[in-house]
C-alpha cells in the first residue's frame, strides 16, 4: 500500500454528518411537507447562488478531511506526517515557503536584509524571493507576466464554463426541442429553479479558481506570513476548521436540545423543573470562562499524557473536537428553551390529545408527533447558528482559547495579524485574506439561512 489512511475524530464525525444529511435529503424528497418548503428555497435565486458558494466551501472542507500518511520511499514504514487530499493538491503552495513576510504578487522580500555581494561587500537590500516570481529576470516583466497569465486563466475558465453549460442545456432540453430553442429557453429564464443564477455563480467561482491555478504556482497571490507560508494556503486550510466548528458543534448539541427541550415541554412537572434549572444554571455561567477552563484543562491533560497524542495533527484535532463539544454544551440551552416553548404549545393541540386517547405511548408521541413538528425550529436555528459559530471560533482563537495554535484557522490568522497591523509599513494581507474568506462563508450561510427560515417559519407562510 502506498498510503495509509488516517481517520481523525473530526473526520469520522464529518462523514457521519454527511451520511445524516444524505439520509435527510432522501427522506425530505419522499415527504411532501419537507419537500414543499425546500423547493420554495430552491426557487429563490439569491439562496441558490449562496448555496453554490457554500458547496464550494464544503468541497474544500471535504478534500481537507481525507487524511493519510505516505509510504516512505526506501524504508518499510509510513511517514510520520499526516497529509490531507487538499495538502497534496496544494503541494506547490505548501512547500514553497519563503523566509518571512512578502506582499501579494511580490518578487522581492518585504523586509530588507543584509546581503553578501559577490565582490565581498555587504549591503542592505530587499532580496529576491526564493519562489515568488522566481521565473522572472527583472521586476519590470512582472505586470506583463501577470496580465498574460490572468488572460489565459480567464480564457480557460470561460471555455470550461461554456462547455459545461452546453452539456447542461443539451441534457435538459425538452423532447422535440432543437438545441437553439433549448438555449433560448435557458437565456430567457423563468424556470422554477433559477438555473441562470446558479450558472452565473458557478462561472464566477470558476474564474477565481482558474486564476488561482494559473497564478499561484508562480506568485504568492495573497502574500506570505511571518514564517513565509503562503497565505492562500493558510486560508484554504482554515475552511475546514470553520466548517467543523460550525457544523459539528450543532451535531453535539442537537440531541441534548431536542430530547431535553421536547421532554420538558411534553411531560411538564418535575421533569420540566429539572431541565429548566439545568439550562438556566448552565446559561448563567459566562461561556468564555467555561470554555477557557475546559480548554486549559485539556492542555494540561495532553501535556501529562503525551503517549496518547502521537503527533501534532492528532493533538490539534483533539483540541478542535473538544472545542466543538464545549461550544455545543454552552449553546444548547437557547435551542432547548425554544423547543420547550414550541412543545408546550403543541402538546395542547388536539392531535396530541387524540394520540393519547388512542393509548399511544409517550415515547412514541414524542418521536412520531412532536419531533417532526418542531423540526422547522431546529432547522432554522441550525442554519442561523452556523455563521455565529464560525465567528465565535475566530473570537475564541483571538482570545487564545480557541483551536490549537498549530492548526490553520481564520481565528489564528486574525490573532497573528494583531501584531502585523502595528508594523510600519503595515502587513495587511493576512487579515484581509482571513476576512475575505470568512466573509464569503458567513455571508453565503446567512443568505441561505434567511431563505430557509422564510420557507419553514409557519408565521411567514402565505
Amino acid at each position: 500500500m502506498p498510503i495509509q489512511f488516517v481517520f481523525l475524530w473530526t473526520d469520522a464525525l464529518i462523514y457521519v454528518l454527511l451520511a445524516v444529511v444524505s439520509v435527510f435529503v432522501v427522506y425530505a424528497v419522499r415527504h411532501e411537507h419537507l419537500r414543499a418548503p425546500w423547493s420554495q428555497v430552491a426557487r429563490r435565486p439569491l439562496a441558490m447562488g449562496a448555496l453554490v458558494v457554500l458547496l464550494a466551501y464544503v468541497a474544500i472542507g471535504l478534500l481537507d478531511s481525507v487524511h493519510y500518511r505516505e509510504r516512505l520511499a526506501k524504508q518499510d514504514q509510513y511517514a510520520a506526517e499526516v497529509k490531507s487530499l487538499l495538502d497534496t493538491l496544494l503541494q506547490p503552495l505548501r512547500t514553497r515557503t519563503e523566509r518571512t513576510y512578502s506582499a501579494p504578487f511580490a518578487i522581492h522580500a518585504f523586509t530588507s536584509e543584509t546581503v553578501d555581494k559577490p565582490d565581498g561587500t555587504r549591503e542592505r537590500a530587499y532580496p529576491r524571493l526564493k519562489y515568488g516570481g522566481a521565473h522572472l529576470a527583472t521586476a519590470d516583466e512582472r505586470a506583463g507576466d501577470i496580465g498574460r497569465r490572468t488572460a489565459r486563466a480567464l480564457g480557460t475558465a470561460v471555455l470550461v464554463w461554456l462547455l459545461a453549460l452546453g452539456v447542461f442545456v443539451y441534457w435538459r432540453r425538452l423532447p422535440g426541442d432543437d438545441y437553439r430553442a433549448a438555449v433560448m429557453r435557458f437565456i430567457r429564464g423563468g424556470e422554477r429553479i433559477p438555473w441562470r443564477t446558479i450558472w452565473a455563480t458557478t462561472g464566477v467561482l470558476l474564474l477565481v479558481l482558474s486564476c488561482g491555478v494559473y497564478l499561484s504556482p508562480y506568485y504568492h497571490v495573497l502574500g506570505t506570513d511571518q514564517v513565509g507560508i503562503d497565505v492562500l494556503y493558510k486560508s484554504l486550510k482554515s475552511v475546514r476548521t470553520g466548517l467543523v466548528i460550525g457544523t459539528l458543534t450543532t451535531l453535539v448539541m442537537l440531541p441534548f436540545a431536542l430530547v431535553f427541550g421536547v421532554a420538558a415541554g411534553y411531560f411538564r412537572g418535575w421533569i420540566d423543573d429539572v431541565i429548566q434549572y439545568t439550562y438556566t444554571t448552565l446559561s448563567s455561567i459566562p461561556g468564555v470562562l467555561l470554555i477557557a477552563a475546559a480548554i486549559l484543562s485539556l492542555q494540561v491533560y495532553m501535556a501529562t499524557h503525551p503517549e496518547s497524542f502521537d503527533n501534532v495533527v492528532v493533538r490539534a484535532d483533539t483540541r478542535l473536537l473538544f472545542l466543538c463539544a464545549i461550544l455545543g454544551v454552552t449553546s444548547w440551552t437557547s435551542l432547548c428553551r425554544l423547543l420547550r416553548g414550541e412543545t408546550l404549545k403543541l402538546r395542547e393541540l388536539d392531535y396530541i390529545g387524540a394520540a393519547r386517547a388512542l393509548g399511544v405511548t409517550s415515547a412514541r408521541i414524542m418521536t412520531r408527533h412532536l419531533f417532526p413538528n418542531v423540526m422547522h425550529v431546529v432547522l432554522i436555528t441550525v442554519v442561523l447558528d452556523f455563521s455565529g459559530l464560525v465567528l465565535a471560533e475566530a473570537v475564541l482563537s483571538y482570545v487564545g482559547v480557541g483551536v490549537d495554535p498549530s492548526m490553520e484557522s481564520w481565528g489564528n490568522m486574525i490573532n497573528g495579524a494583531r501584531l502585523e497591523m502595528a508594523r510600519e509599513p503595515m502587513v495587511w494581507w493576512t487579515l484581509a485574506a482571513a476576512f475575505v474568506f470568512m466573509f464569503g462563508l458567513v455571508l453565503a450561510a446567512n443568505l441561505f439561512a434567511d431563505a430557509v427560515r422564510d420557507a419553514f417559519d409557519p408565521r411567514l407562510r402565505r
Partner: protein, 639 residues
C-alpha cells in the same frame, strides 16, 4: 352587464350603493375571482345581511368597500362603491383614512384580537373619536359611549385593559369604538360568531337598539341564518363570489327561491328532522380561478339541467327581490327543462327512521366528577385557590344512546369530556366505563382500555398531525392497541375506514392539509373508529364547519350509530344539533349540571332558569314550509 339592485338604490336615503364590484386575487395558481360582480344598496336605518358560507367572498366584499383588500395579491378590478355622493373607490389612501372609521366603521369577528391589549379601552375608543379638543369632554363622550353600549360602571371601565373584560364586553367596546364617530354605515363582519348564545342575543339586541336611535345603516356579514332572522331587513345570499338571491327578510324566510338558499334551510338540523337524514349540499364550492361557462352552483344543484351547464344565469330582478337562477327564467326560455330532476330532488330526502336501541344500563357512568385547577401565587407557588372547572357532575349514558352535554364556553363541558377520557385526571369523583372505574387505573392499565372510548375534537385543523399521511394517522391507533399484526392488514383496514366515512382509499397517501374542514372531520371520525370503540366523546365536532358540511357530518355520525351501535357523549352549544341528534340532554352552567333529562322534555319544558334563558336566546328561524322548489309560473318578481 347585469345591473343588480340599481333601481332600488335610487332614493335619496341610500347610504351605500355598490355596483358590479369585482375583486380578484393573483395567486401562483391563477387569478381567483373572489368577488365577481356584486351589486347591492343599503338605505338609512336598514340592515342588509350578506349571507354565505366560508369562502364565498362576503368578507372580501366588505374589505373592498373599505379599500383594505390585502395587497399586492388582491386588487379591485371593476365596480363602483358610492357612499352617499362619494365614489369611495376613487379616493386616495390618504382621503380613504378619513372615510374609514368616520363614515364607514367596522366591527370584526374576534373581539380578543381586535383590541390592543396594552392600551386601556377608554384610550382606544378615544382614538376613534373625531377631533375633540378638550380632554375632559373627550373622556365624557367616551363614558357616554360606553354607557350607550350597556357597559355597567362605565367611568371605571374607562381605565380597564381589554383582558379585564369578558368576550361580550369586548365586543361592546368594539361597537362603542365603531359608533364613536357616528358613521353612516356600520360593517359588522360576523359580529357574534365568537360569542355564546346568550351573549349573542344581548349584542344583537344592542345593535338593533343603537341602529334605531342613530339611523345607521348596517351591512351584516354572517353565515348564521339565525342571526339573519333576528337582525336583517334585507337578505343577500352570496355564493362563489356572486349574489345569487336578494329578498326582504320576510320573503326570504317565507320562501327562499334559489336552490342554494333552499338547501341551506334544509341542511339545518332541528327537532322536526329527527331520525331523518339531513339534506346535504353535495360537493364543494367550485374553484374560483376558472372562467365559468354556466351556473356556479351547477355541480351541487338538484335542479340542474342542460341550460345551467351552457349558459351563465342572468340576474332576474323583481320588486325588491332578485335571483340568479335559470329556474326563474321567463317561461319561453325554459321550455327545454327536463322533467326528471325534480323527482330526484325529492327522493334525495331520506326517510329512514331511527332504530331505537333498547334501553340498557349506563355504559358510561359519571359520579360526582370534580376537576379543579389550582391557582398558584407568590414566590413559592403556593396554592391559594382552585378554579372549579367541573364540580360534582353526575350523569350516565346508556349504551347505543346519545347524551348531549350543552353549555356555553367556560361552562366546563370540554373539561368533563377530557376528564372522562382521562386526558385530564379528575380531582375527585368516579368515571365508570362498563362498570370499571377508570379514575382508579394507572396510565399503563388504562392503555388497553382506551380503544373502547374515543374522541372527536372540534377544530378540524389542529386535530390531525400535519406531518403525517392520512394512512399513518388511521393506523396509529391500531398499532398502539396492537389490533392488526401486519402492515398490509392495517392498510386494508384504513381503506375500509375511509370508505365507511365516505372518502376514497387513495386519501391514505395524502396529507391532512389537502382536505377541506368537513373531510378532515371525517378523517378524525375514521381515526376514532379504527380501534372499534363503543363510546365516542364528540367535542363540538361540527361547530367549526359550515351548515351544509355540518349536515354531512351529522348524517355520518347518525348512520354510524345505527350501524355500529355506538354511544355518543355529544358536547355542544348548538341547540339545533341537540334537538336533531340527542336522546338525552344535560345542561351545564359554571361547572355544574343544572338540568338533565330526555331531550324532548328539557327542550320543550325547561325547568331551570338558565335553561330557559339559553333557549330564549337562540335566534328563532321560522322555517319555510317544506315544499319543493319548483316556482309557480306567473309569480310576481319575475321579469
Amino acid at each position: 352587464m347585469e345591473r343588480g339592485t340599481r333601481s332600488r338604490g335610487a332614493g335619496n336615503d341610500t347610504v351605500l350603493r355598490v355596483e358590479n364590484l369585482k375583486t380578484y386575487f393573483d395567486t401562483p395558481e391563477g387569478t381567483v375571482r373572489a368577488v365577481d360582480g356584486v351589486s347591492f344598496a343599503i338605505r338609512r336605518g336598514e340592515t342588509l345581511a350578506l349571507l354565505g358560507e366560508s369562502g364565498c367572498g362576503k368578507s372580501i366584499t366588505a374589505l373592498s368597500l373599505l379599500q383594505l383588500v390585502p395587497e399586492p395579491a388582491g386588487r379591485i378590478v371593476a365596480g363602483e362603491v358610492w357612499l352617499g355622493d362619494q365614489d369611495v373607490l376613487a379616493l386616495s389612501e390618504r382621503d380613504m383614512r378619513r372615510v374609514r372609521g368616520r363614515r364607514m366603521a367596522t366591527i370584526f369577528q374576534e373581539p380578543q384580537t381586535s383590541l390592543n391589549p396594552v392600551l386601556t379601552v377608554g384610550l382606544q375608543i378615544r382614538e376613534a373619536l373625531p377631533d375633540v379638543a378638550d380632554e375632559r369632554a373627550a373622556r365624557r363622550r367616551v363614558i357616554e359611549l360606553l354607557e350607550s353600549v350597556g357597559i355597567p360602571q362605565a367611568p371605571e371601565r374607562y381605565d380597564a385593559y381589554p383582558h379585564q373584560l369578558s368576550g361580550g364586553m369586548k365586543q361592546r367596546v368594539m361597537i362603542a369604538m365603531a359608533l364613536a364617530a357616528e358613521p353612516e354605515l356600520l360593517i359588522a363582519d360576523e359580529p357574534t360568531t365568537a360569542l355564546d348564545v346568550t351573549t349573542q342575543a344581548q349584542i344583537l339586541k344592542l345593535l338593533k337598539e343603537l341602529q334605531r336611535q342613530t339611523g345607521t345603516a348596517v351591512l351584516l356579514i354572517t353565515h348564521d341564518l339565525g342571526v339573519v332572522a333576528e337582525m336583517a331587513d334585507q337578505v343577500a345570499v352570496m355564493y362563489a363570489g356572486q349574489i345569487v338571491e336578494f329578498a326582504s327578510r320576510a320573503a326570504f324566510f317565507r320562501e327562499p327561491r334559489h336552490p342554494y338558499s333552499q338547501k341551506l334551510f334544509r341542511s339545518l338540523p332541528n327537532r322536526l328532522k329527527r331520525g331523518v337524514s339531513l339534506d346535504v349540499i353535495a360537493g364543494a364550492v367550485p374553484r374560483l380561478d376558472q372562467e365559468f361557462r354556466g351556473c356556479r352552483f351547477l355541480e351541487r344543484c338538484d335542479f340542474a339541467w342542460d341550460r345551467c351547464r351552457a349558459e351563465v344565469p342572468r340576474w332576474l330582478e323583481g320588486a325588491d327581490k332578485g335571483v340568479r337562477c335559470h329556474l326563474y327564467d321567463p317561461p319561453a326560455d325554459r321550455a327545454a327543462r327536463e322533467p326528471g330532476s325534480l323527482a330526484n330532488a325529492v327522493a334525495s330526502e331520506g326517510t329512514a327512521r331511527r332504530a331505537t336501541p333498547e334501553r340498557s344500563r349506563g355504559l358510561l357512568e359519571v359520579k360526582n366528577l370534580k376537576v379543579y385547577f389550582p391557582v398558584q401565587r407568590g414566590l413559592l407557588q403556593r396554592v391559594v385557590d382552585y378554579v372549579r372547572a367541573v364540580d360534582e357532575v353526575s350523569f350516565s349514558v346508556p349504551a347505543g344512546r346519545t347524551l348531549a352535554l350543552v353549555g356555553e364556553s367556560g361552562s366546563g363541558k370540554t373539561t368533563v369530556g377530557k376528564g372522562i377520557l382521562q386526558l385530564i385526571r379528575p380531582t375527585a369523583g368516579e368515571v365508570l366505563f362498563d362498570g370499571q372505574a377508570l379514575t382508579r387505573l394507572s396510565e399503563r392499565e388504562l392503555r388497553p382500555l382506551r380503544r373502547q372510548f374515543q374522541v372527536i375534537f372540534q377544530d378540524p385543523y389542529s386535530s390531525l398531525d400535519p406531518r403525517m399521511q392520512v394512512g399513518e394517522i388511521l393506523e396509529e391507533g391500531m398499532r398502539a392497541q396492537r389490533l392488526l399484526g401486519d402492515a398490509r392488514a392495517r392498510s386494508k383496514r384504513a381503506a375500509e375506514l375511509l370508505a365507511q366515512v365516505g372518502l376514497p382509499a387513495s386519501a391514505r397517501h395524502r396529507y391532512p392539509h389537502e382536505f377541506s374542514g368537513g373531510q378532515r372531520q371525517r378523517i378524525s371520525i375514521a381515526r376514532a373508529l379504527a380501534v372499534e370503540p363503543r363510546l365516542i366523546v364528540c367535542d363540538e365536532p361540527t361547530s367549526a364547519l359550515d351548515v351544509s358540511v355540518q349536515a354531512q357530518v351529522l348524517n355520518l355520525l347518525r348512520r354510524l350509530q345505527e350501524e355500529l351501535g355506538l354511544t355518543y357523549l355529544f358536547i355542544t352549544h348548538n341547540l339545533g344539533v341537540v334537538e336533531y341528534l340527542a336522546d338525552e340532554v344535560a345542561v351545564m352552567y359554571r361547572g355544574r349540571i343544572v338540568e338533565q333529562g330526555g331531550a324532548e322534555e328539557v327542550l320543550t319544558r325547561p325547568q331551570h332558569s338558565y335553561t330557559q334563558a339559553l333557549l330564549a336566546a337562540v335566534p328563532k328561524i321560522e322555517l319555510p314550509a317544506e315544499r319543493t322548489a319548483l316556482p309557480v309560473s306567473g309569480r310576481d318578481g319575475r321579469a
